[in-house]
């Protein structure tokens, strides 16, 4: 997981900090760290422990009467049995969105890094600029674009890509499109950082040695962009699989992802043990996918 810490930020730990000059500086780093570290411990680490505890509460309790801690491990299989379709759907939607985002994001990152010349900075800002507006306002704009009486549906019906009653909004496709759209910049930025360092002379060398453009891409560009590709994929995958805004605004209850279920478990049904168990299942599933992926990607060195 430390891959993320290094790749996208580019602020590695290579230069080791200087030795303290004087003895009284020995305590200084701890004083500097104390407030921030305490905040993260109390409001990030401790809550995770509390969430783990809540996932083992006796499910017969309630928020008003209080829960008894009974170590009810059975909450997990029970939650999984009831909501495995939503959990699987989260990863299927995110997976499809990731493939679409890669197909769009790779040429975009490559174009800006290698072909944009003096427009590089402007184009890079353009990738981030759409994120300056609110996430929800952007997603609602998609709702307008995809709506039944919008120009896009009209156009697709006219060219018979969509039946006369065909819809875009309130479909699984709309949810996937929303996920692709909203998390695409997270994929593009680390990918750009990798591709920007690619020396174009390497590609010239490949073509001098009779490599076809496709082969040069396979053998040179792709391997050299791997750290950015891995980091970008994770930065896309982690927030997208836990998202439920797109499913809620662009889909129907049939397209609900695990986030929708967890949201309603905590805020509507007030079933904390179930919500907590599902949260942990989501995190475990994400960690498992990330781990397998890092193994497969063969990039142990970025870990």
């Amino acid at each position: 997981m430390t891959a993320l810490a290094h790749v996208p930020t580019g602020s590695g730990q290579s230069a080791s900090p200087p030795a303290p000059r004087r003895g009284r500086h020995r305590l200084l780093p701890y004083l500097l760290l104390l407030p921030g570290a305490a905040w993260l411990l109390i409001f990030f680490a401790v809550p995770l422990v509390q969430l783990a505890a809540a996932s083992l509460y006796d499910p017969s309790g309630s928020v008003t009467t209080g829960y008894a801690m009974t170590g009810a491990v059975g909450n997990y299989p029970a939650a999984l049995q009831e909501y495995w379709p939503q959990l699987v759907r989260s990863f299927v939607y995110t997976g499809i969105a990731l493939v679409l985002a890669l197909l769009m994001g790779y040429p975009l990152a490559y174009g800006i890094a290698q072909k944009a010349g003096r427009w590089k900075n402007l184009l890079l800002v353009s990738v981030v600029a759409p994120m300056f507006t609110s996430f929800l306002v952007r997603t609602l704009a998609w709702k307008t674009i995809l709506s039944d009486n919008g120009w896009l549906v009209g156009l697709l019906r006219d060219v018979h890509l969509l039946g006369p009653d065909g819809r875009l909004l309130a479909t699984a496709g709309a949810v996937v499109l929303g996920l692709t759209y909203n998390f695409l910049p997270f994929l593009v930025l680390p990918l750009y950082a990798s591709l920007e360092r690619l020396d174009p002379r390497m590609l010239e060398a490949a073509s001098d040695l009779y490599a076809s453009p496709l082969r040069a891409f396979q053998k040179v560009t792709l391997p050299l962009s791997m750290p950015g590709l891995v980091a970008g994929t994770l930065l896309f995958f982690i927030p997208a699989s836990g998202d439920y805004i797109n499913a809620e605004l662009l889909g129907t209850p049939r397209d609900n992802m695990i986030g929708n279920v967890i949201d309603s478990a905590f805020l509507v049904k007030l079933n904390y043990p179930q919500g907590a168990a599902l949260s942990f299942l989501l995190m475990a599933a994400i960690l498992a996918v990330v781990f397998v992926y890092l193994r497969k990607a063969g990039t142990e060195e970025v870990l």
Partner: protein, 282 residues
């Protein structure tokens, strides 16, 4: 002829695809800007009907929306100040000092950035409920500071790590006290990084929905208000706020890039100016 055309295509198709993808990225932004100037024909219709400046003249026609914007700005401001201070101190410790437990601290900073928002939101909620802390304005602030700190650390750390330490050593050699060195040399040099971190923190806080949703009870921020309105009807003023956010952020980016360019030009001019008298002497 054919092969030349082929090469022309081969050279440019990547840029063509890149521009198409950028178009896709900007499509909803264009809709948001367009609808901010639209007079809807009826409630719950979002087609472009008629150009008007009314939405911009009365952005607060739905007054509770403006209350929510103000509340988001207040929360964003407090969370930004606190997280920027905490994160900057941590960045200094990490870049400038040797200490035991560095790996653990790095992990503590990195994990919040890699944890899904959903998990952070639900876990904070279970802590607040277990500790019987009433949810509201301050629990939102606490949550926002928590997820902003890591991003501040990373941003300031990058700036600090790229800094030339010899400038500070020179100041100390010239009998500046430690405090004077910090105040006159270190701080001005790190400031752009701190400002960037603060802007990032504010935008993260202002736009957060998922974590806020779990820890706000009845306190309504702007994203929460939009979420509620999405189920009823969305007034065109929402798009005014969206457009304004976009414009302000663009202005800030533009201003900072102009400043950066001017600073680079000034840095280039210094050796030239300094070189002139030397030449005359020879």
């Amino acid at each position: 002829m054919g092969s030349r055309f082929g090469r022309w295509i081969a050279d440019r198709w990547v840029m063509g695809v890149a521009l198409l993808v950028l178009g896709y990225l900007f499509l909803p932004i264009a809709v948001v800007i367009g609808l901010s100037f639209n007079r809807p024909s009826a409630r719950n219709t979002y087609d472009f009907n008629e150009f008007t400046l009314d939405n911009w003249r009365n952005p607060c026609a739905t007054s509770d929306m403006c209350d929510a914007v103000v509340r988001s700005a207040q929360i964003g401001f407090i969370a930004t100040v606190v997280s920027t201070v905490l994160g900057t101190l941590m960045a200094f410790a990490l870049v400038r000092h040797r200490f035991r437990g560095r790996a653990a601290i790095n992990m503590l900073i990195f994990l919040p950035m890699a944890t899904p928002e959903l998990v952070m939101g639900t876990s904070l909620l279970s802590l607040f409920v277990a500790a019987q802390v009433p949810l509201g304005f301050w629990t939102i602030v606490i949550a926002h500071v928590m997820f902003c700190v890591s991003f501040v650390v990373v941003t300031v750390k990058a700036r600090l790590a790229g800094m030339d330490r010899r400038l500070e050593e020179a100041a100390m050699d010239l009998y500046a006290s430690e405090w004077q060195t910090f105040r006159r040399i270190t701080l001005p040099l790190v400031l752009p990084g701190i400002v960037a971190a603060a802007l990032l923190a504010f935008s993260l806080s202002f736009d957060d929905f998922i974590i806020t949703n779990f820890n706000s009870a009845t306190t309504v921020t702007f994203p929460m208000w939009v979420w509620g309105a999405a189920g009823r009807s969305i007034p065109p003023q929402v798009n005014v706020i969206g457009t304004a956010m976009f414009a302000i952020a663009l202005l800030l980016v533009g201003a900072s890039s102009l400043r950066g360019r001017r600073a680079r030009r000034a840095a280039l001019a210094v050796p030239v100016a300094a070189g002139r008298p030397a030449k005359r002497l020879s």
